[in-house]
């Protein structure tokens, strides 16, 4: 599975504005509602539910909120770069400015895990994240995300 199977150029947000974790998740849910056709509230609830299990702020300014939704037709990704980093309750207590949202249908099972692992591995590369931070337009971000060698399936 490639990153390009998860995101499209219009699902890359170069300047997301939020001042708190809750607001960021709400904003992500609102945008996801637009392209999945699901209810914003339902998405937000699922993301919150997942955060209770443990934060998805994995350190170094990265967060990968994710969840499963019953009526989704396929996997959806959304990448956002925040203008101002926010407190995300991350494991290293550092503020977060790069967010990758991943939503999966209830039936996705192994595909969900694979996609999530791919995203997690991609964003673990710190040099790569610095490049993401350095570019401020959506197309450049999309190109970076889909071109990295780690974006492609093994």
């Amino acid at each position: 599975m490639d990153i390009s199977d998860l995101i499209t150029p219009d699902r890359v947000v170069a300047h997301l504005k939020a001042t708190s974790k809750k607001q960021a998740l709400q904003e992500l849910a609102r945008r996801a509602a637009a392209f999945t056709g699901l209810h914003e509230r339902a998405i937000f609830e699922v993301l919150l539910e997942r955060e209770r299990l443990g934060t998805t702020g994995v350190g170094h300014g990265i967060a990968i909120p994710h969840g499963k939704l019953a009526n989704l037709d396929r996997l959806y990704g959304l990448f956002a770069r925040l203008d101002a980093p926010i407190d995300f309750d991350a494991i290293d207590e550092q503020p977060v400015d790069l967010v990758f949202l991943l939503l999966a249908p209830e039936s996705a099972g192994a595909d969900h895990l694979k996609a999530l692992a791919r995203v997690s591995r991609l964003l673990r590369d710190r040099a790569f994240c610095e490049k993401l931070r350095g570019s401020s337009n959506g197309d450049a971000l999309y190109a970076l995300l889909t071109d990295s060698p780690a974006s492609h399936a093994a």
Binding site: G54, G59, G67, K68, Q94, R121, A154
Partner: protein
Amino acid sequence: MDFGFQWLALGALLILASVFAHLVSRRFGAPILLVFLLLGMLAGEDGPLGIQYDDARNAFLIGSLAVAVILFDGGLRTPMAAIRAAWAPSLSLATVGVILTAGVVAAFLSLVFALDWRVAMLIGSIVAATDAAAVFGLLDQHGIGLPDRLSSTLEVESGANDPMGVFLTVVFVEMLQANQPFLDLMVLAAFVRDMGIGLVIGLLGGYGLAWLVNRIEMTGGLYPILVFAGALLIFSGTQTVHGSGFLAVYVAGIVFGNRRVRALQLIVRFFDGLTWLGQIVLFLLLGLLVTPSQLTEAAPLAISVAIVLIVLARPIAVMLSLAPFGFTLREQLFVSWVGLRGAVPIFLALLPFLADLDPERRYFRVAFVAVLVSLAVQGWTMPFVARRLGLALPPAPEPAPRLDVDLIHALDRDLIAYEVKPHSRATDWPIHDLHLPERTHIVSVLRGDQVLGPESLERLQANDVALVLTPPEHSLAVDRWFSRRFASTATDLPANAGDFVLDGAQPMRELAESYGIAVDKDDLDLSLADAIQKRLGRNVGRGDRARIGPIALIVLDKIGNEIKRVGLMLDPPPEGWRGLLARLRRRGRADS
């Protein structure tokens, strides 16, 4: 009149230089022991200072003293939990492993260098003992934590294999002296006698010393001296009655360190300093004793020994002696690689010389070079290897600074003053929700220049000083309430810790639902922590891993016996050779 003060000054300067060298070596990640050894060589006869030191008998005695102190200190710091988790694999490494290591080196020497097999075995035995102090110093320096069972195994092994190395070396020295052609069953009898006497005296000595310390009232400063003299007596006394003093003093340290003893903090600190001094003196002395210009002659043999030791003998010994204990292949490879040699082999190599078997001190030089190579090659690369094999865990959080107050001895509780750290349990929960261990109470809180009662406070703040009364069995667990909950140093969350960090108290049901993982019906209502313990047993340690369907859960943090944070690994690599290759291939790609 000449009182020899200049020698004292010279000694003091050398020790000072070693202390400062320690600062420098941290910056380069150089194994500190290597630095001490090089300093000794620099000061010696071929170096700028040109000190002539050639008294091997004297060096052997001082060396024994230093090794005894280091072993006692090692025992002192080994908690019972580590022994419980790791005694079986450690003992296997320290006995079977040492014999195999010596055997493989000997086989190589007699095949390639056509040495008499007894001489070959002698050299093999000399270089067989490992040194874990070097390993842990380096890991600390790089902020790397190891899985609990692995680090306990390495730690206990390195203490337990010194007595074995000494024993084997003595066996072959005596064999050569008596010119015996073959080993007979007497060796087994000697082994049982030496180790038996060592074990018994060590146990009795440890208990006796603890009893004595608790029994006698005296000035605080004398307790460490009493223990020092006691440990020394246990060591030398056992040697005098032909038992293994090295085993005795190590066992005594373990027993003593795990007893409830008055002034234990003082004693532990004293031995910490003494061990540093012991390491410095030991390595300086051995560095002084060797004549660097003669090392080149021993180099071909010594470097071959070092290479065989690193790539053949240690891995074979580790794989075979750890086979029954369920370590993963990656863990076995790591243990193989960190078989660092320290001072003990060099020190043991003095024995054949003292027994007139080696008048030119060839074995001494061989051991010396082998240790140099091992320290340099394995020591320097170890942090890299730990990361590469995916064994590095985030470091355990640094404990909150604490001051132990020795209360009247009859009282069964300790009074500890803690400096409360930010992001600790104590700051993040209200006082009445802290759930401190049983019979543990916060008696008073110092905030700035105020003294506050705990009942008047809603919650503690960072930098408060909390006075806590606690029974000694909880006194380590209580640390975790006042320390940072996790290391927030911005180091990597290593790949080994998984993709996400979960709260161990959350139910398995949540995990099953969030990730669509099939979980046994009985397990749905268990917490993640309980589900892991159900699979792996109560005694799980950091780094232990439970597979649940396609994912794996990894224990990241424990408070007492309770698992706090759990790593979620989405696509755990298969174990064994196939998994190792997959991991290396993947890492290679990410690096490019």
